[in-house]
């Protein structure tokens, strides 16, 4: 992995992505790429709270689900335009993030992970049991596609390009925040909360901010997913989904935007590419995760790259930092 994110490399990747629907008309391929796009947004949003603010969340699927259900319900019941629904889902998911964060962000590390895990389970159970609104396990069918000036965008190609635009917007926004004072404060909190406090940074404020922004982006991904797939049910928003998103973030390289994208791409492609192993594919997949963590615990886009990215230090000798535990 000696790829450098120089402008020409990015331009080539971007051009290839734009050209993809022109090359293939295979809906299966486009479908995988769109799901990949949704997972890219999800892993970017989880990376924002876990990688940059250091708060481990195991309930990311809950915010994804809230965004999905809110988007679907307002589009179905109130015939709200897709793009407005996107914003409303983001706001509602963010609000839930805020409400959950209010009492729980005081908790450190592992405990926050547990609370978010519990929250994820409770949200899923609400989707299943609140049958009057969510139709319970039957799910919500017939979620409308987006319309622009009366034209319905119902092709895979339209969703594909929308996914690309959304990823670019997400990356740009996150990049801006991370390189701003707020982002620096967040990373300080991640590195050492007590040190952060001693220089006048309120940890809780920045943790909350990161948590809310992360939840809001997950909500956007959820709403997009609902419209794309047109049918949602509680089985999508399970603990396994949260775990998969976390695996993407960690495999890609925690605290790195390109890393999260790479992680999401690899973990969506791997099960498809391993299909020839039929029954054994998830077995191999699990084993690969273990092997990967043993030989490359810093992920694909490792710490060396990150140190260089953030602090613009020449990473001589490729030494990795931050993996020594006292």
């Amino acid at each position: 992995m000696k790829i450098k994110l120089t402008k020409p490399v990015l331009a080539v990747v971007f051009a290839l992505l734009l050209a993809l629907p022109l090359v293939t008309t295979n809906n299966y391929v486009l479908h995988i790429f769109i799901s990949m796009g949704i997972y890219v947004i999800l892993s970017l949003s989880l990376n924002f709270v876990t990688g940059f603010a250091g708060q481990l969340s195991l309930g990311h699927a809950a915010f994804y689900g809230i965004g999905s259900y809110v988007g679907a319900l307002i589009m179905l019941n109130f015939h709200v335009n897709f793009f407005l629904a996107l914003i409303i889902s983001a706001v509602v998911s963010g609000l839930f993030g805020f409400l959950l964060g209010l009492p729980t962000l005081r908790l450190k590390g592992d405990y926050l992970a547990i609370v978010t895990l519990g929250f994820g389970e409770i949200v899923r159970l609400v989707f299943i049991n609140w049958a009057k609104v969510t139709r319970g396990p039957l799910g919500l069918p017939g979620i409308p596609k987006p319309t622009v000036f009366g034209v319905e965008l119902n092709t895979s190609m339209a969703f594909y390009y929308m996914a690309i635009v959304m990823i670019i917007v997400t990356v740009v926004i996150m990049n801006k925040i991370i390189n701003s004072g707020i982002g620096m404060a967040m990373q300080t909190v991640k590195a050492d909360e007590i040190a952060a406090e001693s220089v006048g940074i309120q940890p809780i404020k920045y943790k909350m901010l990161a948590f809310v922004i992360s939840s809001a982006f997950a909500g956007i991904a959820g709403c997009f997913y609902a419209s794309f797939i047109s049918y949602i049910s509680p089985t999508t928003f399970i603990y396994n989904t949260s775990v998969t998103i976390l695996a993407m973030v960690v495999l890609g390289g925690l605290g790195s935007i390109p890393g999260s994208i790479v992680g999401a791409v690899i973990l969506t492609l791997a099960p498809e590419l391993l299909r020839f192993l039929s029954n054994y594919r998830m077995l191999i997949f699990g084993a690969l995760m273990v092997v990967m963590m043993i030989y490359r615990p810093q992920g694909f886009w490792g710490a060396g790259k990150r140190v260089k990215n953030i602090y613009k230090i020449k990473a001589g000798g490729g030494k990795h930092v931050g993996h020594i535990k006292g």
């Binding site: 908790l107 450190k108 389970e121 159970l125 695996a247 054994y280 998830m282 615990p297 535990k325």
Partner: protein
Amino acid sequence: MFTQQLINGITVGGIYALIALGYSMVYGILRIVNFAHGDIFMMGTFLGLFFTQSLGMQFYIAFPLSAAATAFIGIFVEKIAYRPIRIADKLAVLISALGVSIFLQNLAQIIWGTETHAFKSGIEVSTFKFGGLILSNIQLIVIFLSCVLMMGLYFVVNKTKIGVAMRATSHNLNSAKLIGINTDRIISFTFGIGSALACIAGLLVGIYYDAVFPIMGYSYGLKAFAAAILGGIGSIPGAMVGGFVIGIVETFGAAYISAGYRDAFAFGILIIVLIFRPSGILGKKLVEKV
């Protein structure tokens, strides 16, 4: 009705407590959450099923045999997946554990299929009536066995030499090494004991509900984990208390409020307790040093 639900709650609580002990002991020593523990529990249950059904063993032979086999699975998992990265980032261990979890779940599905199996334990169900109370002999076995095992564990940890070594390792791994404790062996021992207890819990689930399936590790594991946190992770009596509290709360919640939200009660109480007492019911308060 009330006492009846209490007994039902204690029965499931005992099972949760046995699984929770594995989470808690491992966390106490390595400060990692063994997310594959639920699946080790499931493997233990299926090994029990294999011994009793496919090999036609009596359950009193199959019980210790599957417990021993599961202990080896636990030790093996630690050796392969956790030991090489023990000093690395905690998140790396977490992802590795998730990998093990996916692996074991799919292994069980390949070997035993995805369907639910009946668990014929060969124990005749008989019920006793005390006034309005109905108690089955299976409930008595579950409660009795979980209590005996927990007392046994408490004895091992507090009164034996290896228990002292375990406590020393959990207090500070590096200083334990310095005073000549073979910490690797202690860690293996801890994984072995935790896995064996989880296996027994799984067999008890088998005889109590008469149904086992490859993804059972998920819901039991999650709730036992909640129990370990609730009681105070790292604390052995805490895991027991947590298990019983979760069992009783979810049984009462399901009986009196809503059966559909059964699992939500367990997590609801966990969140509430953590907000007011982040270190759990019996957990030690950690003071952070600068």
